[in-house]
Assembly symmetry: C2
Homo-oligomer: 245 residues x 2
């Protein structure tokens, strides 16, 4: 039996997130079903992350153990032919037997896209969050730097988060504009449940004047979710890169 490290990408619009559920169709179920149809093996895939309903991935890794004699290239092309066109395997390689896509992950980069316009754009439907009020990207970029570093992000994760340790390190957090599109790019060693969407939502509160930049440190120190901004919608969120050592 070999352990494969597989990179994929997906448009998450039509899936209830990555992780298999009893009552909803997920990325995991789609991929496991395709692998079964290709190889005849009932294999569990181990994802690098859970993504929520509607969240996208430009780069997502999973590992899976298979007996099959099919080559890596054959797995990629075979599974792609069996999957819908909103999920694609990109690469496949044989990994060390102990490799685990989640436990071995050393960091991740997410991008959150906001279409900052009064008028909707049909081509960004489900692919970006549309926000009418003008975004001050320089202010938000400067404010975002307060989150960079090692902090307890208890106040910036979902109340449903069950992790004991909520300390994470953000390596980079930039806010840039290209025309009507504002990109929030964030890289760190790990992210809590809804953390990226709450950080972006908190910056939008700063944009709206509901929170002053000076209060961000207080909010972090409070460890109180209710002081941060609201969770922005999933459609703007992309898992962009996953780092392994």
């Amino acid at each position: 039996m070999k352990n494969y490290k597989i990179k994929m990408a997906y448009d998450g619009t039509h899936y209830h997130g990555f992780q298999r559920q009893n009552n909803a169709y997920t990325i995991q179920e789609a991929v496991e079903t395709a692998l079964y149809r290709l190889t005849g093996e009932t294999a569990v895939i181990y994802g690098c992350s859970r993504t929520d309903t509607g969240v996208h991935a430009r780069e997502f890794y999973f590992n899976v153990r298979l007996e099959t004699a099919i080559t890596c290239r054959g797995i990629v092309f075979g599974v792609n032919n069996l999957l819908e066109n909103d999920i694609a395997l990109l690469t496949c390689e044989e990994a060390a037997p102990e490799f685990h896509a989640r436990y071995d992950c050393r960091g991740k980069e997410y991008e959150y896209l906001i279409h900052n316009s009064e008028i909707k754009n049909p081509f960004w439907n489900n692919r970006a969050y549309r926000f009418w009020y003008p975004i001050q990207e320089t202010l938000l970029h400067d404010t975002a730097q307060i989150f960079v570093g090692t902090h307890d992000f208890r106040s910036c994760c979902s109340a449903a988060c069950t992790k004991e340790n909520t300390v994470r390190t953000i390596h980079q957090f930039s806010v840039t504009r290209t025309g009507e599109m504002v990109s929030f790019l964030i890289r760190g060693d790990g992210f809590l449940y809804n953390m990226v969407r709450i950080l972006v939502g908190t910056l939008l509160y700063v944009n709206d004047g509901k929170i002053s930049p000076a209060r961000i440190r207080e909010i972090l120190e409070s460890k109180n979710r209710t002081l941060a901004g609201k969770t922005v919608p999933p459609c703007g969120l992309y898992l962009n890169h996953v780092y392994y050592s």
Copy 2:
């Protein structure tokens, strides 16, 4: 009663083209229904073009005559709120009473996008045609120049085309690559039924060596549809610009 010139954009994936049909949902029906819900008026919209099922528009004009006292801005925002997010009105202005979006159109620009890759990209699903075999964009660009100018395009339109006059002038036809994406950009005074998709399909035959560039003139002169390449799928086609004098 005022005559309005309205610009819109749409992702055509889920519509059976622009023109109203008895048994299928179209862009025209969606927009006319939204206009009715906003104004209470049963108005016909006159489009600059018919687009086929699955074809997209970044810029599409129609005109419509309305009694409403709602402002242009109110029409844009009101209709956008009533439409699905894959159609958007972009601008609205009062036009001369005799303005007609189709008859007054002086030219159009289309883009056809080919994702030239062995591996599918979930984010180009329904938005580009995926073509595996490597595209020689320089060869195709050079060959495309043979179509530029005034020609009888009878051999490059659908056999179902009922136009008597099939002479059209192509002002520009370029083929360029950006990474895995190959763009066919074509501007002319008018286009016949399926003409852009057949021109691109013919260039793909040149790419595959099924047609030599030297035969293009012969194909035009033959006025025989069966000598040109096949009609490429609609998902890669975008109406890009519409010109009025």
